[in-house]
Amino acid sequence: MNNSLLEIKNLTYKKNLRTILNDINLNVGYGKIVALLGENGAGKTTLIRIISGIAKNYRGNVAVNGQQDEEARKSQVSITDALKGFNESTKIDEIEFFYEKIYPDFDDHQFKELREFMKLSGDMKLRQLSKGMREKLEIALTLSRKVPLYLLDEPFSGIDPLARKRIINSILLWKDPKATMIISDHFVNEITTILDEVIVVKDKTIASHIAADDIRANGQSIEQYYESMYEDGGAE
């Protein structure tokens, strides 16, 4: 078996006559928690969309758990979704039922535990949820699928600092040890303790992919390391 869960080779993506990602090469192994860092507009979300099979028409190869075909790749990936496909009057229970029917890998028992942990009630409607509550629901739904790769795109931006800490500290409990989680976020400080690797996207490509322990061994914090990547003032 290949040691890489995620393999990206020579990935280039253009949209609206602009190059968004250029010649990306990346290998991520099993059982890791990885931070995907970069400025706004660096291409983090696009990279996540390509991995999950949402963004199309790219050049290069993307494989998750050995699966290159988009349909097969989607079954290997669980990504935070803004739930825009649901009517605002949809109840959490109804969304849970939708996930249960649509995703054969959805663990209903785990979702119920996560929902309680996030202090969400099943009869709450989407329109009743604040931004933070909605993000909690998105995280709960994402982590309730049993897949090898989780992609969390800025999952904590609307969640209050206390709850954020609680969620981040318990992520390890909800994740299968063999599964990998890629978290794209600006709150570097709060996720450093759980990180195994750091990927920095800069100038439309992967500027750095390094083990968190190597950064720590150099006497730097992950935040310092990330800031040092932008000492020249950033890409744009």
């Binding site: 949209k15 609206n16 006559l17 602009r18 969309r49 999950s52 099979g53 949402i54 963004a55 199309k56 028409n57 988009e70 349909e71 097969a72 989607k74 079954s75 990504i79 979704d81 803004a82 739930l83 825009k84 496909g85 649901f86 009517n87 939708f98 029917k101 649509i102 995703y103 054969p104």
Partner: protein, 275 residues
């Protein structure tokens, strides 16, 4: 992988909300119009008053059905655009078929509900002696024919089952074609937009849609001319009403639906991105 059956069931359920809303609108508006017309004595007099609700329900039916075509078309495109739906691990072909067919099946369900509403709306007419007598006469005549053993023979003579079936299929294929054409215009305009600069995207999109509609109109005109030339007896085009003419129409509806669907599935698989 998600099964087609599960995806179809979820998509149907998502569209069902609009069906009930439309039925409710038809029910309430037909009741209001009936009450208003009876109070103001405009239109319905005497025995006709008992049939007024039924007549108004039936009159509103095509308008509600047209509204459903617009709403379901919009909803189909919304699902093609939605990340929630497009993240589902299923092939683009199955995704496309589930989306379009759920809209068609829901449309049939709407018609069934409307017919049921029609039956309920007819009930007040049973209070009228003349109408009751007419209904009794018809059922009596049907009963005699059935007991005589030649009812079904006469029924199928008046309504040939083959023609009925082929016209029902023509209706389904026509709905399939309409949804497919709208999806082709929507998906291809959005795809073309991805290859143009981001600025003025709304204006660009409007221009692209106008051009695409124009091209489709010219192309369909040319194709119809070609069909007429290939068919001097006008059998295929339906001017001579026959069993074969309906099936030829169905054949062409199917071919065009498959062409547009093929384009749509290709766009969904290779280019179109959800938001």
């Amino acid at each position: 992988m998600t099964s087609f059956k599960n995806l179809f069931a979820r998509m149907s359920k998502a569209k069902m909300r609009n069906i009930y809303l439309l039925v409710l609108i038809q029910l309430v508006s037909s009741l209001l119009i009936t009450i208003w017309s009876l109070i103001t004595s405009s239109g319905f007099r005497g025995d006709a008053g008992l049939l007024s609700w039924f007549i108004i329900v039936m009159t509103l039916m095509p308008f509600i059905d047209i509204a459903y075509v617009f709403i379901s078309t919009w909803q189909n495109e919304k699902e093609f655009d939605s990340q929630t739906w497009r993240l589902i691990p299923i092939s683009s072909t199955k995704f496309y078929i589930a989306n379009i067919s759920s809209a068609i099946v829901n449309g049939l369900y709407l018609v069934v509900l409307q017919l049921a509403m029609g039956i309920v709306a007819f009930l007040p007419a049973v209070f009228d002696h003349n109408i009751r007598f007419n209904v009794w006469q018809i059922s009596n005549a049907v009963g005699k024919e059935v007991s005589g053993g030649n009812y079904w023979a006469k029924f199928f003579e008046a309504f040939p089952i083959g023609i009925l079936l082929s016209e029902f299929i023509a209706f389904l294929l026509f709905a399939f074609l309409i949804y497919s054409i709208v999806a082709t215009i929507d998906l291809s305009s959005k795809t073309i937009l991805d290859f143009l600069p981001e600025r003025h995207s709304k204006i660009f999109r409007a221009i692209i849609i106008i051009v695409l509609v124009f091209v489709l109109l010219i192309a369909s005109g040319n194709v119809m001319n070609m069909l007429y030339q290939m068919d001097p007896a006008h059998v295929m085009t339906g001017e001579i009403r026959s069993y074969s003419s309906v099936w030829f129409t169905n054949f062409y509806l199917l071919i065009f639906s498959l062409i547009f669907s093929g384009i749509n599935i290709w766009l969904l698989a290779k280019y179109h991105e959800s938001k």
